[in-house]
Amino acid sequence: MYPATAAATVMAVLATLTGPPADAEADALATFPLKLLDLSITAPSTASLGGGIAGGRLTLKLTTVTVNDSRLLPGSWTASVSSTDFTTTAPVRTIANGQMSYWSGPATATSGLGTFTPGQGTAADAVTLTASRTAFTHTGGLVVNSASWQPTLVLTIPHTAALGSYSGTITHSVQ
């Protein structure tokens, strides 16, 4: 065999052995643009829990939360709610998030098909916010849908709570 041909053969074999050419790798990572609409939630706003006494209870109706799902897929979304502990500025005193309970109440408005399930329909179903809880869910047809609910927070102040100005944050997460 001529040296040139031999060299060419060796090069060809090496090329196949060193893996797929860069083009194939790039093809595997190629993307195409999606034309979807979004999953949205109302902007948050602060509220005033007001004042209370140790051993007392504070109840607050939050501003209405609305979730809009225009994605058409997957047809379901879940809104969950969590709370931080409530703390004062230094010297820091804490009221644990377990003292805070939440109930979503029924949907105040819905649009689109599917099943809308409030997390806690009535005050009796209220859950404590020691952990993240389900606030609202939607499952069902591949349609544009939305749900609104006006949740209620109930803070049970421990008997041992020290005087102070406590603040905390409630988070609604939707996906």
């Binding site: 990572l29 979004d38 902007a43 706003s45 609305t66 047809g141 939707v174």
Partner: protein, 332 residues
């Protein structure tokens, strides 16, 4: 275009007499913000799950970029934070971890911006980059890319609020090609819910190596008087981690007679499709007779025979030894 058609078109385009926006009749507008995914892999063009979230199978050492968009549906500029946080599959659903809890996957994810100022009625595109380390172990991980707005507590308003919307990430790491996705429908159980509606519950097992998001339909045929019904959609929202077993529910029309019916259930996750057929009868109340569908293991019968033979053989040997021993004693 005819004069009439032109007039009709102009009438449609003109604002209404009161000057109200097109969606008059909806509740009073409140500021809102949203998130959407802008890219999906070409290789997953037919996979509906790849439109829901960032779904991929990558080799260690790979870097991918996906774009997400944050939308502002309000007349004011809003500052929106964008960041990844951990998620897990629990109780057959993707559950976000609180706040900015990190996990292994989030340590690989970075966003082009941490905070975007989105103009009124505008959008902001944010690139999300995932860098898989060369020594990443194989397996599937989950996280969520969040678009978040915060209203922190102030001196006079002590309850702060944070709202966020997210796009899930289902990322599988491993050399070579995508690991298999598969599921098996183990049984179909007819039930009557407390509200009187008939339901069919399918027990589904994730027998593959990637999480599944189940959707599906049920058809009924060969019913009383030759009736047919359906298709009825399965309740969505069931996400199964590999090895998980979960019920998938189909709620049917309350006017259906009890049966018997031939039920055909088709369940799907992405490109995996499974069908199960069974003869069912809805109970008057409560849970009806379940129909098991999972086939017996193929090696069950030969193992059974082998066991019986082994036990028989063992017993025979024991009997032979005893007999010989007795003979030996007598011979003395």
């Amino acid at each position: 275009m005819t004069l009439l058609a032109t007039l009709a078109l102009l009438a449609a385009l003109a604002p209404s007499a009161a000057g109200t926006p097109i969606q008059a009749g909806k509740p009073a507008h409140r500021d809102r913000f949203g998130i959407k995914l802008l890219d999906a892999p070409v290789s997953r063009r037919k996979d509906p799950r790849a439109r829901v979230g960032i779904v991929d199978h990558l080799k260690p050492g790979t870097v991918i970029t996906r774009r997400i968009q944050v939308n502002n549906v309000s007349p004011k500029t809003h500052a929106i934070d964008v960041y990844p946080a951990a998620a897990t599959i629990q109780h057959h659903a993707l559950v976000p971890a609180p706040d900015r809890t990190p996990n292994e996957l989030t340590s690989w994810v970075s966003t082009e911006h941490n905070r975007v100022q989105v103009p009124p009625w505008g959008q902001a595109n944010v690139r999300v980059m995932i860098r898989v380390p060369r020594l990443a172990s194989r397996g599937e991980r989950y996280a969520i890319v969040w678009a978040q707005e915060s209203a922190p507590p102030t001196a006079h308003r002590n309850l702060g609020m944070v709202n966020r919307v997210g796009i899930p990430i289902y990322l599988d790491i491993g050399p070579g090609g995508e690991p298999p996705s598969d599921m098996s429908i183990q049984s179909l159980t007819p039930e009557r819910a407390r509200n009187g509606r008939p339901q069919v519950i399918a027990q589904v097992r994730n027998t593959g190596e990637r999480a599944l998001t189940i959707s599906g339909k049920l058809w009924l045929s060969d019913g009383p008087g030759g009736l047919r019904a359906g298709p009825y959609p399965a309740t969505l929202g069931v996400t199964l981690a590999p090895g998980d077993v979960a019920p998938v529910t189909v709620v049917l029309d309350p006017r259906l007679p009890n049966g018997p019916w031939k039920a055909r259930m088709v369940l799907q996750s992405g490109l995996v499709v499974k069908t199960a057929t069974a003869k069912i009868t809805f109970p008057v109340t409560g849970i009806g007779v379940s129909v098991a569908l999972a086939s017996a293991p193929r090696y069950g019968v030969p193992i059974g025979i082998a066991l019986v033979l082994a036990v028989a053989g063992g017993l025979f040997l024991v009997w032979r030894r005893r007999h010989r021993w007795v003979t030996t004693i007598r011979a003395r």
